[in-house]
């Protein structure tokens, strides 16, 4: 049997794709707003700011709209749960050798999902306070700027890590693009998940 295994439904892939586009737009515009030479080179602060703000405001939407899909909810449930094996996987230096069996998502993916979701919500809230200057007193806006800056830096590193892991694994990228993966790859990388299909 060499048929592929279904990994991500169309709805899940759509959530991933739109979140990715919005996130990269946020990061690109943030770089212009924040980095001094880029800010002066590009200028047009109001336009860049509008693109950044509306991409940011839209960023949680696909994550929420996805809840209409049962497959997306099921993936969220798996991402949410950390088993004892997950903690061992995170601590292990040889985590990729397959001795610790991994389900549909490994513990790193779970961690990335939780950190990204939390950070997106924090960036959403602080960004709202910074943009609509009438909502909160100045001290809160200063606090929001402080939190927004550090969370943005952290999210930047998170996204960078996420993309570099993806770049190292063509099958994983294929799975997110087309929705299915080879059985061999699944057995090697997500053993417990692959076995769900043989029962």
């Amino acid at each position: 049997m060499t048929t592929d295994l279904p990994r991500f439904t169309r709805a899940v892939r759509l959530v991933h794709r739109t979140t990715a586009v919005l996130m990269l737009t946020c990061i690109g515009t943030a770089a212009i707003l924040y980095n001094h030479p880029l800010a002066i080179l590009v200028g047009h602060r109001h336009l860049v700011e509008l693109v950044h703000v509306y991409s940011g405001l839209a960023l949680p939407l696909p994550l929420l709209l996805g809840l209409a899909s049962a497959a997306y909810r099921a993936d969220l449930r798996r991402l949410n749960r950390f088993s004892a094996a997950d903690w061992r996987w995170l601590r292990s230096r040889t985590r990729r050798d397959g001795t610790i069996r991994v389900g549909k998502f490994n513990a790193g993916q779970k961690l990335n999902a939780a950190l990204s979701a939390g950070a997106i919500l924090v960036l959403f809230g602080t960004g709202t306070l910074m943009y609509f200057t009438g909502l909160a007193p100045l001290a809160w806006r200063t606090g929001s700027t402080f939190v927004h800056d550090w969370f943005a830096l952290a999210v930047g590193l998170l996204v960078f890590g996420h993309i570099s892991f993806a770049l190292r694994d063509a099958q994983a990228r294929f799975g997110m693009r087309h929705g299915h993966v080879s059985r061999d790859w699944a057995r090697a990388e997500h053993t417990d998940w692959a076995e769900e299909f043989t029962e």
Partner: protein, 227 residues
């Protein structure tokens, strides 16, 4: 479903929300302490590396147009015109010859960031207004930028404050191009958007017109709120 265990993902999300909320409420204190400690370093850091970290003390550079022409000592002119008895044009040397005002004051952006204790130096706007001799009907002052787009206004009363200056120097050096040089406004008691960069013209008028950001939602009254 073989994946079970504790709902750690949810705890992480809620934990980050708690950290974020705490940061919003207390961050200004941390930010001010950091900014105060690091501003002298950060604003003069020749490598620019410190500014890559959001330490809070550094200027952020706002420009509302694509590119701003560079003007220097040779081609810079500032005109004071409008409802005045005497329209005047100044070179940088002319401005330098006038009585000087030195201030050490914070630069506060309306969105929250602040650079504490920036040294500013220039000519009080009231000096230029007195020399131009406004007519009795004059009630406001309008600023235009040689970026070709930016405008701002102050009421005559605000414009005559001793801490509203036409700045020639900031951070102990001539105002750089990126900071709005060679000549920019600095209205110390107000948010940064009231301090026009790349200042080209000062027009005395009979009403305070909404400026660039004010047409896009900011208050015409730009006084920094007490916090």
């Amino acid at each position: 479903m073989t994946d079970d265990g504790a709902p750690v993902g949810r705890r992480i999300v809620l934990g980050l929300l708690a950290v974020g909320a705490t940061g919003v409420l207390t961050g200004h204190r941390v930010q001010n302490a950091l900014a105060r400690a690091l501003a002298p370093l950060e604003n003069r850091d020749p490598t620019g590396l410190l500014s890559l970290l959001p330490l809070g003390a550094a200027f952020r550079y706002y420009s509302v147009t694509g590119s701003v022409p560079r003007r220097g000592r040779d081609d810079y002119r500032l005109t004071v015109s409008g409802l005045v008895a005497r329209t005047t044009e100044y070179t940088i040397a002319d401005l330098e010859a006038l009585p000087r005002t030195d201030l050490v004051r914070d630069f506060q952006c309306v969105t929250g960031w602040r650079v504490p204790e920036v040294p500013w130096s220039g000519v009080a706007l009231s000096v230029l207004l007195d020399r131009a001799n406004p007519m009795p009907t004059a009630t406001a002052v309008r600023f235009r930028s040689f970026d070709g787009t930016y405008t701002e206004s102050l009421t005559m009363e605000q414009a005559r404050r001793a801490d509203v200056i036409v700045a020639l120097r900031m951070l102990d050096a001539p105002v750089t191009h990126d900071h709005g040089g060679p000549v920019r406004m600095y209205a110390a008691p107000m948010y940064g958007y009231k301090s026009t960069k790349w200042l080209e013209a000062i027009e005395v008028t009979d009403r305070a017109e909404p400026g660039y950001w004010e047409r896009r939602g900011y208050d015409i009254d730009g006084y920094i709120e007490q916090s």
